[in-house]
Symmetry: C2
Subunit: 500 residues, 2 copies
C-alpha cells in the first residue's frame, strides 16, 4: 500500500465513524417523529444534542485536518476519493471559519427564533417575530463575511445547498421560468375548462389508502426489504445507509391525493438513497448530489410520472378496484382532477404549475434581504405584492403569508431555490430519457416503471454525491441547467388539459 | 462547591454520556427486533459495534479512573453518590482486569460459539457445538482467574448478575426449594384433579389479544405516555431512560395464555423502569437493582398477581366481553386452567411450579462445569439425569435438552439463578405486602392494582440500583433472602387447586 492509499483507508474509517453517529441520530429522529412516547422527548433531545456534539468533534478534529492536508493535492486519487476529500474540506472549512463563540451564539439565536416563530405563527403575530428574524438575518450576513464570497453575497448561501449555483445563473433561469409560468397561468385562468375534483374529497379509510400507497411504491421499485413506510404528522424521508431508507406519509380521511402523492414524492427520494452503491460507504458521499437533485427525483416521480396520463392509464383501473368512490368517475375526469391548477397561498399545498412561483418569490426576497435591498420591516408588504403580481392571491394573515414556512426562522437562507431547481433538473432529465427510451410512456401505461428506475439509477443514483449538480446535469444531459425543458413540459401538458 | 461536589458533578456528566450511548444502542437493538428491514442488519451491526467501542472507551477511560480514585474513599458522599462510585469502580475493575488481547479473543470465541449453537440447535447436533462450548467454559475459568474469587470460583460469576449472592448461600436456598417443589410435584401427579385447558387453544385473533393485553397493562399502571407495546419474535423489555420503556409480546393464534402472560411479565419489568426516579440520571444507577430483583417484579406480576384467583375475579368477566371462546367456561375451570401444572422439557414454557427446577438444574450444572466436576462430554447425560430425577421427563433431542438455551453459548454463566431468585424475592415481598395491606386481594378482585404498584414503587422501584439486592431485601422485608415464603405460597396455592 502506498502512503496515499493508507491515508485514504484511514480517512474512510474516520468518515465511517461519522456515518455511524449520523445514522444513530437519524434513527433517533425518525423514532421521535414516528413512535416515541410523548414523555420521552426531553431525554431524547438531550441524547441528540450529545451525538451532534460528537459529530462536530469528528468533523473538525485534528485528524480530519491531517487527512485533508495530506490528500487534497494528491494526484493519486480516483474520482471518488478526490470528491471525498474536497467534500470533507468544504465541511471542515465552513465550520472552522466561524469563530466558536459566534457559532454557539448563532445556535442560540436560531433556537430562540424557531420557538418565537412557532408561537407567533399560531397567534398571527409578526411583530413579536420580527426582532428574531432580524437577528437571524444579521447573522446570515455575518456568516457570509466569515465564509467569504464571490460576486453576490447570497452566492455563499446558495452554494451550501446547491454547490455551483449562483445568483448570476439563477436570476436568468428563474426570471424565464417565472414569466413563462405567469403567462401560462393567465391563460388557464381564462380557459373555459373547469375541473371538478370533488370526488377526491369523499371518505377514504386509512387502510384503503395505505394499501394503495404500498401498491404504487412497490411498482415504483421501492425495496421493502431495505426500507419501510410509516405515518407521521409531516411526511419525510430518512435513511441510515442504503439498506434502510424510511419514508412516512399522512393519511387524510377526506382528501385522496394527499397521502398518495406524498408517498410517491418521498418514494422518489427513497429510491435514490436505496440505489446509492455500497462502495460509497465511508466516503461521506453516500447520499444525493444536492438538495436540488434530490428534489428532482421526488418531484419527477410525484409530478412528471405520478400525474401523467400514462401512469393513470395503468393505475386508475387499479384504484377503482380499491376505491368504490371512483365508481362513476371516468378517466378524463380523473386525470384532469389530479392536475387541477389553482393558485393558492401555501407553498406546500401548491399544484405542479404554481409551486415554482412560491419558491421564486422566496428566492427574490432572500436575495434582497441579504443584500440590504429589503428590510424585515418591509418584508410582509414585499411578500404580498409578489404574491399578488405572480399568483394573483393575497394573504389575509401573516401566518398564511410571510410566516408560513419555518426556513427563515431556522436560518436556512439559500435552501428554497432547491425546490424549484428540482423541477428544472427533472424535466431536463425527462427530455434525455425520452431520447433514450422513446416508448417510455407506453411502458408506464402498462404499469412497467422498471426502465425509468434503471435509467435514473444508471445515470444519477449510482453516483451518489461524487459529482456536483452542475457536473451531473452536464454529464447526463449534455447541457447546462436550463428552464427550457420544464417550461416546454408545462406548456404541452397544461395546454392539452385546459384546451388552450 | 466543595472539591468533592465538583468531582461528583463532573463524574455524573461523564456517566450521562455513557447513558446516551447506551440509550442509542438500545434503541438500535429495539428497532432491529421490532421493525428494521431485513437488509439493514449488517450495517446496523456495524453501527452497534462502533457504539459498543465508544461505551467501552468511556467506561475504561483515564477520566473514569480519576473520578473513581478521587471519590472512592470520600466521606462526603450521600448514599446515591457512594453507590454510583462503587458501581463504576466494579465495572471499571472487571473490564480492566482482563488483558485487552484476551477480551478481544473472548468476544470472538463467544461470537463463533453463538453462531455454532444456532446451527447446531437447528440440526440437533451437539457434536459440532461441543468444541465451542468447551472453549467458552475454558474462557469462563480464565476470566475467574483474572477477576479473582473468594470461596467457590463460581461465586465470581454469580456476583456479576446478582451482587452478594454466593454458592454457599444458594446451595442451601436452592436445595430447600428443589426438595419442596419435587415433593409438591409428586403429590400433584397423584392428585385426582385433572385440569382441562383446551379452551385456551381455540382461535384468538391478534386484534382481540392485543386489545385485552393493553387493557391489562393499563390496569397494572403501565404509563403509555412513557412507553409502548409492540410485537417481536421473542418478548422483551428495553428502555432508554425512565420516560421511554418499551415492551414486546408475541401473539399466538391458538394459545390464549402466551401473549397475555408475557405482556404481564414484561409489564412488570417495564413498570419498574418507569418508576426509577429522575434524580438517578447520570449515576449509572437508573436501572433495576439486579437481574434477580428485576425478575422478581416481572414474575410477581405474571404469577403471584396474574395467576391469582383475585385477579381473575375482576379480569375473567372482562375477558368474557372480548372473547366469546370463554362463553361456556366457568370461573373455577378458567382459574384452574391458567394454573395447570405439567412438567415439561423447555424452561421458557414451564409453569409456575416447575420453572424453578429448570433453573436449579442449570445452576447445579454450571457450578459443576466451572469447578471441573462435570466435563462438556458428560454434560448431556448429567442434564438428562437431573431432568428425570426432578421433573420426571427426558429430552429425546439435544435441542430440547442441553442445547435449548442460548446462555451457555453466549458465555452467560451465573445468569440463570436470577430467574429463580426472582420467584423467591417476589414471594418474600408478597409476605410483607400482605402485612402492610391485609385487604390487598380484595382490592385486586375489584380491579384495583394501584396500591400494589405504589407499594412496589415506594419500597423497591424508587431506589433504582442504589442498593445491592441483599441490602434491599433486608431493608424491605427485615429478613435475609429465604425460600420459605415461596415454598409456603406454592404449597397453599396448589394444595387448594389440586385438592391435596
Amino acid at each position: 500500500m502506498s502512503e496515499v492509499n493508507v491515508k485514504v483507508r484511514d480517512m474512510k474509517s474516520h468518515m465511517r465513524k461519522l456515518e455511524h453517529l449520523m445514522g444513530a441520530s437519524a434513527l433517533i429522529q425518525w423514532d421521535m417523529r414516528v413512535g416515541a412516547p410523548r414523555k420521552a422527548m426531553a431525554d431524547r433531545g438531550e441524547m441528540l444534542a450529545f451525538l451532534t456534539g460528537e459529530i462536530y468533534k469528528l468533523q473538525t478534529s485534528d485528524k480530519m485536518k491531517e487527512f485533508i492536508d495530506a490528500l487534497i493535492d494528491s494526484k493519486e486519487l480516483n474520482a471518488i476519493e478526490k470528491s471525498m476529500v474536497e467534500n470533507a474540506k468544504k465541511n471542515y472549512d465552513l465550520t472552522k471559519k466561524v469563530p466558536e463563540d459566534r457559532a454557539v451564539a448563532y445556535a442560540q439565536v436560531v433556537s430562540n427564533s424557531e420557538a418565537a416563530w412557532e408561537e407567533a405563527k399560531d397567534k398571527n403575530d409578526f411583530e413579536s417575530f420580527k426582532p428574531h428574524l432580524k437577528k437571524v438575518i444579521d447573522f446570515q450576513k455575518e456568516l457570509v463575511e466569515h465564509y467569504g464570497y464571490e460576486g453576490n453575497k447570497y452566492n455563499t448561501m446558495l452554494d451550501i445547498y446547491e454547490p455551483g449555483i449562483t445568483v448570476e445563473k439563477l436570476d436568468k433561469i428563474f426570471s424565464d421560468l417565472r414569466d413563462s409560468i405567469v403567462e401560462l397561468l393567465n391563460k388557464i385562468k381564462n380557459s373555459s375548462v373547469k375541473i371538478d375534483d370533488s370526488f377526491f374529497k369523499k371518505n377514504f379509510t386509512t387502510k384503503e389508502q395505505e394499501e394503495f400507497s404500498l401498491f404504487v411504491l412497490d411498482k415504483m421499485g421501492f425495496d421493502f426489504e431495505a426500507g419501510r413506510l410509516d405515518e407521521s404528522v409531516h411526511p419525510f424521508t430518512t435513511n441510515f445507509g442504503n439498506k434502510d431508507v424510511r419514508i412516512t406519509t399522512k393519511y387524510l380521511k377526506n382528501e385522496f391525493r394527499s397521502a398518495l402523492f406524498s408517498t410517491i414524492h418521498e418514494g422518489g427520494h427513497a429510491i435514490y438513497e436505496q440505489d446509492i452503491p455500497d462502495e460509497l460507504k465511508g466516503t461521506g458521499l453516500a447520499s444525493g448530489a444536492s438538495m436540488g437533485i434530490h428534489e428532482s427525483q421526488s418531484r419527477f416521480y410525484e409530478n412528471i410520472i405520478g400525474r401523467s396520463r400514462a401512469f393513470w392509464q395503468f393505475f386508475f383501473p387499479e384504484a377503482k378496484k380499491t376505491f368504490s368512490q371512483f365508481e362513476n368517475v371516468d378517466f378524463e375526469e380523473f386525470y384532469k382532477a389530479i392536475n387541477v391548477i389553482q393558485p393558492s397561498l401555501i407553498r406546500t399545498e401548491a399544484d405542479e404549475l404554481t409551486y415554482s412561483l412560491h419558491v421564486i418569490i422566496r428566492y427574490e426576497l432572500e436575495k434582497a434581504l441579504i443584500n440590504n435591498e429589503v428590510t424585515v420591516e418591509e418584508l410582509p408588504k414585499a411578500w404580498n405584492e409578489k404574491y399578488k403580481e405572480y399568483l394573483g392571491v393575497e394573504a389575509e394573515t401573516y401566518s398564511e403569508g410571510v410566516m408560513q414556512d419555518t426556513h427563515w426562522a431556522s436560518g436556512l437562507f439559500g435552501y428554497f431555490p432547491s425546490y424549484a431547481l428540482g423541477n428544472l433538473y427533472g424535466a431536463q432529465f425527462l427530455n434525455k430519457m425520452l431520447k433514450d427510451m422513446p416508448n417510455m410512456y407506453d411502458e408506464i401505461a402498462k404499469g412497467n416503471l422498471k426502465e425509468i428506475h434503471n435509467w435514473l439509477k444508471d445515470n444519477i443514483h449510482k453516483h451518489g454525491a461524487v459529482y456536483k449538480p452542475a457536473e451531473l446535469i452536464k454529464m447526463v444531459t449534455g447541457e447546462e441547467l436550463t428552464a427550457k425543458y420544464f417550461v416546454e413540459y408545462l406548456n404541452n401538458k397544461y395546454s392539452e388539459i385546459y384546451n388552450l
